[in-house]
């Protein structure tokens, strides 16, 4: 989907404002929101891709004005409701009205470091030979797609050169919608600034993005 999250190349957001000596958390609730998101994710109701899709599906005016932890929190509320763990009524009351469904998946404090250290690799055994190789000229898919995708709008229909083959990875477009991991070859693809931004490009700039095979055709 071409939602509020797909920000590359959009105008009007003003200057970047780095903060000197920025703290990791700006308020205690940010840390709790992060922790809740990781702990709730460990229940296994949704994939990382589905949680990204929940965030990018928030109302654009909210997405573009809220802090990022507020975006996370709001998407978490949605996910927990969608998956039947916490209802809107429970949120409104601030109290549980029924026990959780996946209590057996609760992440215990003593397991946190192990889980974080392990992470969740998304490389998978290849299901077919890679269709592209380094040096290939490729054109990226274009057109409307209502669901989750990791092809940014600015790269749609643009031609780049494959400069890396990353292996076979879980395909977010299907994995976000419980349509399965559908592993796909992942490539690094290089685009010149001129190809992406035309005459308005900064001279001598280029963008490399990680693109899944289904996004690409031979140019």
């Amino acid at each position: 989907m071409n939602g509020p999250h797909d920000l590359g190349g959009r105008d009007g957001f003003g200057p970047v404002r780095p903060e000197m000596d920025e703290p990791v958390f700006h308020a205690p609730w940010e840390g709790r929101a992060l922790g809740l998101t990781l702990c709730a994710g460990a229940l296994g109701h949704w994939t990382l891709d589905e949680s990204r899709h929940a965030r990018e599906s928030l109302p654009p005016a909210f997405y573009l004005s809220a802090s990022y932890y507020n975006i996370w929190l709001t998407a978490l509320e949605t996910l927990l409701e969608t998956h039947g763990e916490v209802s809107a009524a429970e949120r409104a009351q601030g109290a549980a009205q029924m026990p959780g469904h996946r209590q057996e998946r609760k992440l215990a404090a003593q397991d946190v470091l192990g889980v974080l250290a392990q992470g969740g690799p998304v490389n998978r055994p290849p299901v077919a030979a890679a269709r592209f190789q380094v040096g290939d000229q490729v054109r990226m898919r274009r057109g409307r797609q209502p669901g989750h995708t990791r092809l940014p709008a600015y790269a749609m229909d643009r031609v780049g050169e494959v400069c890396g083959v990353r292996g076979c990875h879980v395909f977010p477009d299907t994995n976000a919608q419980a349509a399965g991991e559908g592993p796909a070859w992942l490539y690094a693809v290089r685009f010149s600034g001129e190809e992406l931004w035309g005459d308005g490009a900064e001279p001598g700039s280029e963008v490399i993005l990680d693109a899944f095979e289904p996004y690409m055709t031979h140019a």
Partner: protein, 201 residues
Amino acid sequence: MHDHTHDNDLSDVEARVKALETILVDKGLVDPAAIDVIIDTYANKVGPQNGAKVVARAWTNAAFAAALREDATATIAEMGFHGRQAEHMEVVWNGAGVHNLVVCTLCSCYPWAVLGLPPVWYKSPPYRSRAVSEPRAVLAEFGVVLPEETRVRVWDSTAEVRYLVIPERPTGTDGWSEDALAALVTRDSMIGTGLALAAAP
């Protein structure tokens, strides 16, 4: 002007977090002590000091640098930095007329295990929108002005690959220890929005 870059009602969001934690704990789905460990991990243990050690070693140890080029994930993991949001690492080198810059235009992908949690600006619309389309203008806002002939290579981390920039080693640091070098490696220099600090004269 009405540029709401922060939450309108802080007490509202605090109350919502608190309510959700209460509910999830009562339901037996969340261990509040697990949240404490997560917070402690990212507030105190994991941070850009990890990446700085990788950079300092890459500067001083050619075999390590070669290993990074070969398999960054495994090589960095051997230093103890691995796991969530660093499952698939790539390392990119500044120098030879190329400056690298990392962004996630679609969300906030960032190598947590190597750099910690991302700063607010990294997750915000100005950086995410402009890093790809006008990287030099963005760099200038960070005080980084590159020679005109330097190529600016922007990495948009659209998949699960996470990038670590190896900044150029400052001059005048021959023979420095890894620890001394690591102190010159800022977080921003490993994102590409900064350079390594100059050696004190």
